[in-house]
């Protein structure tokens, strides 16, 4: 077979442009496969190792105040392996480079370093000295953003006292891998939020929590039932003001991380399959052409005594060679891109080490997939080889049979100019190839539209949530329920124009056998800073007797307006009430429920209560400085900053992913259009040469060839956009989570950009073919016979 192998190499050489295009498409598929699988496996194993090594808790429970002795009780519960108590408080910090208070969550840890649950990974500095009084360990990311080093001090407003705390270390914790403050936040904002780990002794002293704690974490024995332990915890902690224990699954940081991993799992197969299918079809197209032009050679080899099997192996080798090459290039791209993805994840998730090493499973899997799809692409050609009869094949190929097509029945057809008629008949004659081209370009258009959609979707989310729905400039949360006076106090702060109260009450909503832990927000009648909108962006009446539910929450509970839900209030006297659902509102973040403020106040046993406020302000800077001095404030959220930080955080990852998607889509359009045009050129060289000899100008000749590409690309646009819209819609379904969701809005810009890029890639492919066209030798064509 050595001669055949030499021929194989020469064949590959003469088709290198087309092969390159196919290799590129395969490479994109394998690259996406390797990247996503590497990221999936890398992120999963990093998380698991991190959680195991630093003893991430299985169960979390918050109470108002419990004696430390309660811990012994909890630790003895069946199924509990280990339980720990700690003091957790939300505070505000005064960071010099910030003109507003930053939010902090104080978490107590033992004075001396021991192996605790949710243990800390110190990136700099050392554990507390002595009993840790006046010392703090801060979240590494926060310190990094503000340029805080070990030895610096931060000013923290704790329990009505401003304390200057000396930073002894910077740290990470598995509990805060995704460093966000609470539900309703979507992206980490290390500029505004940090965890502050302080020693137990110090925390007890500052918060007057001598011998007490207000937060429990526990790990379970293998095989223990989480539900049983949660129930037991709730029973034991009820008298200490428990608002309900929850498992790791509902822990916020872990929730985000797990959702991301789940998303990766889904996309590990879909994108590569699209690419590999296009590659297989393109390869099919190319090999069919190769076998057609080499039929005399094949017959000759058969006549010389080569067996069918040997020839089949020969062409299969060609296909597999392309597959291997694509897999090699794709794996390389995938490894490189995996590193970039790891870097992006590193910005969102804080791990001690996040590196996606070269993953043999992903590479072997990718290579196998490439070989399978390359073989699929070769099947058509191999069948042709097997069916070829030597005697017949030694005759020249029959002339291209054009007959009447369905086109002739179209009355306008005869009026079309000749190039158009030639193009249409040519397409009608090679329908499979035309279909492959249209399919490939359509897929590429759909990928582009998806990319532009996901960019637009973020803007849509921002617009819906932060412009239409949240009308305030600043949101303030208090440590605890306050009375009317707190609102007046806020209203008198500098720069405040309007202050509207908010009351947040933790509840469990139950409907039938479904239930959800969430919060009810109380809205004052006539409030203007929080617009409730339905899916058509119309204002929804504020609640009177009953509840308004966000669409997602209504779905989760399977309730419709008019239904009653059971409200189990989790704090205060913990009443249980039956409340009707008045209507459903459309929100992009969280799963909120709303009630009238006065009514909700009474549910928690007050006449009028608020836990926070929305403010409309004229001078955010002055207000920010003033808020730094108010001890009752637990958290402050400046909307302008939130939106900017949101954009900034997403910009880099979107840029990278967007660029890659555009390159991938470009590879498909380019690869498919180039291959089709090259095959078309090879088939029609004589025809085009004849036109040239007959006195048609280069432009006129080119029009006949390129017209086909343009027409096919144009035909692909509509189905491509439709498919892209479908993918985009599916994306909104996939990301319709309890934490956030995207509105399905296709912008005209996205569609125009998609169309423009498809046409640009088509033009690039045509320009390359044009170079080939110029080298056509008219004299050769006059002499040559098909």
């Amino acid at each position: 077979m050595r001669t055949l192998d030499r021929k194989l190499l020469r064949n590959l050489g003469s088709m290198r442009g087309q092969l390159f295009a196919i290799v590129l498409i395969i490479a994109c598929g394998i690259a996406s496969f390797v990247t996503v699988l590497t990221a999936y496996r890398g992120l999963t194993s990093t998380r698991d190792a991190y959680y195991a090594r630093y003893r991430m808790a299985d169960l979390f429970a918050t109470v108002k105040r419990a004696p430390r002795a309660a811990l012994d009780d909890l630790a003895r519960l069946p199924g509990v392996r280990r339980a720990e108590g700690r003091i957790v408080f939300d505070v505000t910090l005064d960071v010099p480079d910030l003109s507003r208070p930053a939010s902090g969550r104080v978490v107590s840890v033992p004075d001396r370093r021991t192996a605790i649950l949710n243990d800390l990974h110190l990136t700099r500095g050392r554990w507390f000295e002595g009993d840790g009084t006046g010392q703090v360990i801060v979240a590494d990311r926060f310190a990094q953003v503000h340029g805080l080093e070990v030895g610096d001090t931060v000013s923290v407003l704790m329990n009505n006292k401003k304390e200057a705390l000396r930073i002894v270390a910077r740290a990470l914790s598995p509990e805060f891998t995704y460093l966000i403050r609470g539900a309703g936040d979507v992206l980490p904002d290390p500029e505004s939020f940090t965890v502050l780990w302080v020693s137990e002794t110090f925390a007890e002293a500052v918060f007057d929590f001598d011998g007490a704690c207000n937060d429990f974490v526990a790990t379970l024995d293998p095989g223990a039932s989480l539900e049983d332990v949660i129930a037991a915890f709730d029973r034991r902690l009820d008298r200490h003001g428990a608002i309900g224990a929850y498992g790791r699954r509902d822990q916020l940081s872990n929730r985000f991380l797990s959702d991301e991993i789940k998303g990766l799992q889904g996309s590990a197969t879909m994108t590569p399959t699209i690419f590999l299918a296009v590659a297989a079809f393109t390869l099919h197209m190319l090999l069919a052409r190769v076998v057609a032009t080499q039929r005399t050679q094949i017959a000759l080899f058969r006549a010389f005594g080569y067996t069918t099997g040997e020839l089949v192996r020969h062409y299969l080798k060609l296909a597999l060679g392309i597959g291997i090459l694509g897999a090699a290039v794709g794996s390389g791209m995938g490894i490189w891109f995996g590193r970039q993805v790891a870097a992006i994840y590193g910005e969102f998730y804080s791990f001690p080490i996040l590196d996606f090493p070269v993953d043999p499973v992903a590479i072997v899997g990718g290579t196998l997939a490439a070989l399978v799809f390359a073989s699929l692409g070769a099947i058509g050609a191999l069948r042709a080889v097997v069916r070829l009869l030597p005697a017949e094949a030694l005759q020249p190929e029959a002339p291209k049979a054009f007959g009447r097509t369905f086109l002739e029945r179209w009355p306008l057809f005869a009026r079309l100019p000749f190039p158009a008629r030639m193009i249409l008949r040519h397409i009608a004659r090679s329908r499979v190839r035309a279909a492959i081209t249209v399919g490939g370009v359509a897929l590429s258009a759909s990928i582009l539209l998806l990319a532009f959609f996901s960019w637009g979707a973020t803007e849509g989310l921002l617009d819906h949530q932060f412009r239409l729905s949240d009308r305030q400039d600043v949101r303030v949360a208090f440590h605890e329920e306050r009375g009317r006076g707190a609102l007046y106090e806020l209203g008198r702060l500098p720069g405040v124009r309007v202050a509207e109260p908010e009351l947040a009450v933790p509840v469990r909503l139950v409907h039938g056998n479904r239930s959800r832990r969430t919060g009810i927000a109380g809205l004052a009648p006539g409030s203007t800073l929080h617009a409730l909108l339905d899916e058509n962006l119309r204002h929804v009446q504020p609640p009177r007797e009953g509840l308004l539910l966000s669409r997602k929450l209504a779905e989760l509970l399977d309730v419709r307006p008019g239904d009653d839900v059971e409200v189990r209030v989790l704090n205060g006297r913990k009443p249980v009430l039956e409340v009707p659902v008045e209507s459903v509102v459309d929100e992009q973040l969280g799963t909120a429920a709303y009630a009238d403020l006065h009514r909700l106040s009474r549910w928690v046993g007050e006449e009028y209560a608020l836990t926070g406020a929305r403010l409309s302000v004229t001078d955010p800077r002055r207000l920010g400085e003033a808020l730094k001095e108010i001890p009752s404030v637990a958290a402050v959220d400046f909307k302008g900053h939130t939106v900017a930080s949101f954009r900034e955080t997403l910009a880099r990852s979107q840029r990278i992913f967007g660029t890659v998607l555009i390159l991938f889509a470009g590879a498909i359009t380019f690869g498919v259009v180039y291959n089709t045009a090259r095959i078309s050129l090879a088939e029609r060289a004589r025809e085009l040469g004849t036109l040239s000899v007959l006195g048609f100008t280069d432009t006129e000749v080119r029009r006949v060839l390129e017209g086909e590409s343009w027409l096919l690309a144009a035909l692909a646009l509509l189905p491509g956009l439709g498919l892209g819209a479908l993918f985009s819609w599916l994306l909104t379904r996939v990301y319709d989570t309890e934490l956030f969701r995207f509105p399905f809005v296709l912008r005209r810009d996205s569609i125009l950009q998609t169309v423009a890029l498809v046409l640009l890639f088509t033009l690039l492919a045509n320009l390359l073919v044009r170079r080939r066209l110029r080298t056509l030798d008219m004299v050769d064509i006059l002499k040559a016979r098909e």
């Binding site: 007959g403 030639m422 036109l691 000899v693 048609f696």
Partner: protein
Amino acid sequence: MGELYRVRGASRVYRMGEVEVEALKPTDLDVAEGEALVILGPSGSGKSTLLHLLGGVDRPSAGTILFRDLDLTGLDAKGLTLFRRRHVGFVFQFYNLIPSLTALENVAMATEVAPNPRDPRAMIGMVGLADRADHFPAQLSGGEQQRVAIARAVAKAPDVLLCDEPTGALDYRTGIKVLEVLRQVNRELGTTLLLITHNAAIADIADRVVRMRSGRILETRVNEAPKAPEAIEW
């Protein structure tokens, strides 16, 4: 009759890999308006090269070719394209019809780029294929395809018809028929006919015969009494 072509010292050297081949040695030739000229020679005699030079498909390595007052050697690619478009009708050995166009469309296509074309349907009628006008090339016999090719070449009302072995791929009887059509075009429409062939019998239909061998013209002789195509045999 005026002169259509005046060729002076035209030669053509091809570079085939590392060797240079002088396909046409320096040659002089005059072609009169309206005459029927046959260039006769075996393969490799340089007759095709000469035809390509006259048709503006190729350029001489040295020498000049005047078409009326137009110096073909001074034209760039675009100029040559325009020259072919306005003045030359080609008939090829293998017809070179556009497979995706019907017989009539093949003819009509050529008229689209010509300044004063003839009626395509009349041309199809002239070559005796009025009833097959809507057939595609693959549905026509070789002789029919060649007649369509002639109709296509003539339809643009060229000044000269250049035919490269037009009967080379046809059987005797069909070949005669094609020659009749060519002679008819030359006689009735006054189109200058330049036909190259290796078939000596065909030379009898010409007004003048140029014999070539090894890249040069051996002799030029005038046929006092050209024969009608049906009278020749090979």
